[in-house]
């Protein structure tokens, strides 16, 4: 099986890897690029643990082939914090204890960030619908929703 050379941009950095065309983008991120923040929960697009953005569009990286990333821009959980520290969503997840086992957390953070780009001032209902593609079996979602609402308020520079 011949491998395909893929050149793409991940978290702003140019990267290249050799992919079997059957490998998913998630496989490539984790196994070829060492970016193990994105998780595989279901592998069928149901759980959202592998959420990344592809040219700013939120997708499940398990439902994208690695070879499809050619020439595109991929952003993962590893690019969320910057040199100054954690992203407000990451801080608020810690503050609100919006995680227990943590397996869903990278995907939820990436999805929540994408949600707040689209809608900086979401209602609770909009947050719940917006994150419906991310399953969490520990928290019951309430703390996650509060953390996202609080982070959104901070990012809008309002006191929650």
């Amino acid at each position: 099986m011949s491998k395909i050379h893929v050149t793409t941009t991940v978290n702003g950095d140019p990267v290249e890897f050799l992919a079997d065309p059957r490998e998913t983008l998630l496989d490539c991120l984790r196994d070829h690029l060492g970016l193990t923040g994105s998780k595989e929960g279901c592998g069928t697009g149901d759980c959202g643990a592998c959420s990344v953005t592809l040219d700013d569009r939120l997708v499940c990286s398990c439902l994208v082939l690695g070879v499809e990333a050619e020439g595109r821009r991929v952003d993962t959980i590893e690019g969320m914090a910057d040199a100054d520290g954690l992203h407000p969503l990451q801080r608020k997840f810690i503050e609100h204890a919006a995680l227990q086992c943590g397996f869903c957390t990278p995907g939820l953070l990436v999805a929540a960030k994408a949600l707040l780009v689209q809608n900086p001032d979401p209602t609770e209902e909009e947050v719940r619908y917006g994150l419906a593609g991310n399953l969490c079996r520990c928290t019951g979602y309430d703390k996650i929703v509060r953390a996202v609402m609080d982070a959104a308020a901070e990012m809008r520079q309002e006191a929650a």
Binding site: P21, R22, G45, R57, L58, L63, V64, L65, A111
Partner: protein
């Protein structure tokens, strides 16, 4: 598996026609990749259509309708204000498919070609009178969307044929459409029953109508008897009762844990009534 990225539909059709083994076209991949992972489908040739120019575009046709590229994801469809204003029923059907993540990839064409009787985006297209442009070894032809589903998981496309665009007709004046589905929860589920209604008014009277039902037969289909029940009426209670009865009469659903035959049949009538009323309101200028 060989991965191909043709730069035209003619090349894609040629690749598919020449392929010896199992072939799949790749647009959004939300069905194909799941089937590959489950081992249900192990293509020898996977033909990615996304490098073909225009597949991500929604453009006005010369006739005043819309041409929707095969790789336009649901999210882009919902974000297109002019399309949503003209064909809200088509757009809301697609919008019901999956999560935000799925909407980032899943396409109308893929939903159609997956061949599910419960595909949420297909009844709206069928009721709208949408057609597909098909590129094949013999050239290009068009066919009504309603003729594509051929049974669960099956389409009427021939070997080497690929859908190269979805075409919506001009909306015209005093028209409205709507799609409703029943699921046991509020979202992220597969339709137990789906119903789309597209109609045109002359004054307060329904002048033209098309009703399509999903998930109540092996294929999504138009129900002309349901349309006839409301044509020439003002959608009064008698017309709605006739519509309800015609929709129920058209059902031949499966019986499973998600819905019994009796339940699916009754709900088909209820959704037909409700979708007709929403379409009627939209034809009158409602924007909700």
């Amino acid at each position: 598996m060989r991965y191909h990225t043709p730069s035209s539909f003619e090349d894609a059709a040629r690749l598919a026609a020449q392929a010896q083994g199992l072939t799949r076209f790749l647009a959004g991949g939300t069905d194909v990749l799941v089937q590959m992972r489950a081992g249900m489908v192990q293509p020898d040739d996977l033909i990615d259509l996304k490098k073909i120019p225009g597949v991500g575009d929604i453009t006005r046709t010369d006739e005043g309708g819309w041409r929707i590229g095969v790789a336009v994801p649901g999210a882009a469809l919902s974000a297109h204000d002019a399309l949503r204003a003209e064909w809200p029923g088509v757009v809301e059907g697609m919008d019901l498919v999956g999560s935000v993540q799925i909407q980032g990839r899943a396409t109308l064409t893929g939903n159609l070609c997956n061949g599910s009787p419960a595909a949420d985006s297909v009844p709206g297209l069928v009721a709208a009178g949408a057609t597909v442009e098909i590129t094949g070894p013999e050239g290009t032809r068009t066919a009504p969307v309603a003729e594509i589903p051929a049974g669960p998981g099956k389409t009427s496309l021939q070997a080497g044929e690929v859908i190269s665009a979805i075409l919506l007709p001009p909306r015209g004046a005093h028209g409205g459409d709507a799609y409703l589905r029943f699921i046991p929860r509020t979202e992220m589920d597969i339709a137990v029953v789906g119903c789309a209604v597209n109609l045109r008014l002359s004054g307060d009277t329904v002048a033209e109508a098309q009703v399509a039902l999903g998930a109540v037969a092996p294929v999504i289909r138009l129900v002309p008897e349901a349309a006839e029940a409301i044509i020439g009426t003002t959608l009064d209670e008698a017309a709605l009762q006739a519509l309800d009865a015609a929709a129920r009469a058209a059902c031949s659903p499966i019986d499973d844990k998600r819905g019994t035959v009796a339940f699916r049949t009754e709900v088909a009538g209820v959704l037909a009534r409700r979708a007709a009323l929403i379409a009627y309101g939209r034809a009158k200028g409602d924007t909700a």
